[in-house]
Symmetry: C2
Subunit: 150 residues, 2 copies
């Protein structure tokens, strides 16, 4: 993201998420301070309607907000892409479909979601999302707490 105090600065951070390969992540300025000078910066407003990034090889987790407590991402799925079913011992996830159609699995059930339908994947239960349609799909995802790394 662009720091409002340094409109020229497009800094990219590399972050490691539980279960993910190391990846480039546009990081939220922590606590409204600019990482470059620790100055106070403006409120960030993110337009969820346009926050998308698709990739031909796999689903993209497009970051919206990240704090020490939570992740908020838009998962962007081309037709045929999916997030494989997996589980987190101590973190809950919420999926809210934004566009298209996607099948969400929680436990041993699956449901096809329509836009603005929300599903909770409680901690410990296997869950995943798959785009089995012929159109792009996007889902808003909240995840908390952030897993702790030792």
């Amino acid at each position: 993201i662009v720091c409002p105090a340094h409109a020229d600065a497009k800094l990219e951070y590399t972050a490691q998420r539980a279960g993910d390969a190391e990846r480039s992540l546009q990081r939220v300025w922590p606590r409204n301070e600019c990482a470059r000078e620790q100055v106070k910066v403006s409120m960030q407003v993110v337009d969820i309607a346009t926050a998308r990034r698709y990739a031909p090889d796999k689903m993209v987790k497009h970051p919206v907000f990240e704090t020490e407590h939570l992740f908020c991402d838009v998962y962007c799925l081309e037709p045929g892409q999916e997030q494989a079913v997996h589980a987190h011992a101590g973190s809950d996830k919420i999926y809210i479909l934004l566009e298209g159609r996607a099948v969400v699995t929680v436990g041993d059930e699956e449901r096809e979601l329509r836009p603005m339908e929300a599903v909770l994947a409680p901690a410990g239960l296997p869950h995943g999302i798959a785009n089995r349609s012929k159109e792009r799909a996007a889902a808003l995802v909240f995840f908390a707490p952030k897993p702790q790394h030792g």
Copy 2:
């Protein structure tokens, strides 16, 4: 909510939230088990487009999901209603406007949000939301971690 295993049962729980008066709260079945018989129940799908409840006297926090880690609510504001500016020492909040117009305050700044615009209120910063328009407003709100009570 209606437990899918007991379609007749509309159980209401009373829950205490940090800073709130005790209030009646439709509670999510924890971990996909029915509170009545601890049987496994179906995935809950909540339609965020229609999850609304307004009250003439004050803003309503309409619950969507609640777990031990997080709250997900739709804040429903009649014209003139607001959530007064307040802060949480250790929890982050995300507002995503769903309909209408609302002014979100974070720190000493305020911004009028349009539908699908999102703002982060990081832990420790004063924040609030106000409907200064002549139409109803609704915002999806995520809050984590849940404050711990002694």
